[in-house]
Symmetry: C2
Subunit: 327 residues, 2 copies
Amino acid sequence: MSHSRQIHLARRPRGIPVREDFAVVEVPLGDAAEGEVLVQGLVMSVDPYMRPRLDADQALETPLIGGGIGRIVQSRHRAYAVGDLVRHGSGFQERFCSDGRGLTKLSPDPELPLTVYMHALGGTGLTAYGGLLETGALKEGEQVFVSTAAGAVGSVAAQIAKIKQCYVVGSTGSDEKAAWLRDEVGLDAVINYKAEPLAESLAAATPRGIDVYFENVGGAHLDAALPRMNVRGRVPVCGTISSYNGSPQAVYGIFNLIYKRVRMEGFVATDFAPLNGAFMRDMTGWLKDGRVKYQETVLEGFERAPEGLIGLFEGRNTGKMLIRVAD
Amino acid sequence: MSHSRQIHLARRPRGIPVREDFAVVEVPLGDAAEGEVLVQGLVMSVDPYMRPRLDADQALETPLIGGGIGRIVQSRHRAYAVGDLVRHGSGFQERFCSDGRGLTKLSPDPELPLTVYMHALGGTGLTAYGGLLETGALKEGEQVFVSTAAGAVGSVAAQIAKIKQCYVVGSTGSDEKAAWLRDEVGLDAVINYKAEPLAESLAAATPRGIDVYFENVGGAHLDAALPRMNVRGRVPVCGTISSYNGSPQAVYGIFNLIYKRVRMEGFVATDFAPLNGAFMRDMTGWLKDGRVKYQETVLEGFERAPEGLIGLFEGRNTGKMLIRVAD
């Protein structure tokens, strides 16, 4: 009998999670039974949307709900061979047996690193693609604002908007991230919301208003964007990270929706499953020809998953935060 | 040379308007010139949406922007005869000459009082009809919440929802209005938000959640409704009266839009011009067969228009607030 490790929620966090809210637990692990495979985790994803779950949906003392990429290391399941790569939704486990439920075979493009399948070519990318093009109904040449534009979802959304010939303004929380967005990604204007007055800077950066605000933050960001919205503007609501660690920030400008006939609409990536084929085709092309750039922060070691999740709320990630479990 | 009177904005209000913010001004009035008519005002409408205008769009020392119904008393315009009734958008004037711009002939149903053409069969009614059925995309049998459900727009929206076989909850600010909604209008549940804890009462009154929240208030009302929204729920945003007199109320629950994929969308009545034929047909029928009930508060006398507008924000109206200028 070998062993595996799991990341458990040990207690419910108060505000930003701390290391003691989580536990790394060693568990026994048998061989794959008939009809099963044994999966070795390779890469795992930590994402802001995991935070609200910790208050309710996530059970204590079970593996954190989550997804990753793994490799089949034993197979007694006829659909899988040793060496196959899979996406899985089996939570934060180093190795685990599976009857195949929640596994999807992955055939990565050999010219791209495997990790991009955890962000630009994964749920992160599909979230940006569907949120911007379907929920946001983006049209070529529109005026776009993306909050947390250097983040995993934001950076993809901002670059898709640039590919669609839009004027794109992004907000971010450090000069280093701002420089990347301006110099590498080529956004039309970038606001460091920790160093500048957000509302004033956004007004100055959007002389032609905003047609689509891709919302990742909530609170003061939403209040800065609402008065700038153009008639029939759209606010696809991807996330409100400002509300995830306790008391949400207030929003005061909802009345701006009325005369401008602005539409705000929430969405989740699973809504966009019908778009997945077009998304994978488009995004693979954009990554290979360099039109979509990305940054990754990869923490080495399964046991660092809690540190990675906590770091998201402290701005410690540059681009997508990932945990490397094994090579 | 005879005289007319106008209501002017004398200064910009701070918070709820007071009588001194307005002036009743006597002006000289000549006869209708060639190509003109002279219109005698009969009834005028005061509406909550007039308040935000007073901060900016409304010029000082000119007639308040607004609409009413009048009668042609002189005509040198071939499209109009003396005695014709017209809707006009000529602002708060007792009598005035017009070259016909902004006038629309009105042929009221003889079985209905003229005043209903200023509310249920006017912009108020079209706002409720279009906001609920088009922006709100109401389907038969859905779960509906209407705020300020005894108000001019709210009471029409709530009754259209009942006609569409929906379960309808309304909020209002007095026991008297609550009794009217429960006993006369027949809503399924009524909340007096000044006497009850709004969020708790709304949760108890909506065991099957909310598919459509017809938003007239903002602030705490929106925060009470958002956690109750069902998946793919809609929030047509008609008004946010809580924000009209200065500091808007905070909203904290925008994150509820995300997982439920809720759509919030602003609208104005002019968006619904293409619906006007269907609306007039439907609403005339509903009024004549008693399926849409209404209440009016009619102040007698042109000079009482400021009192009427101010009264809207103090809850002094029961149903639609109107000013009778002449019979």
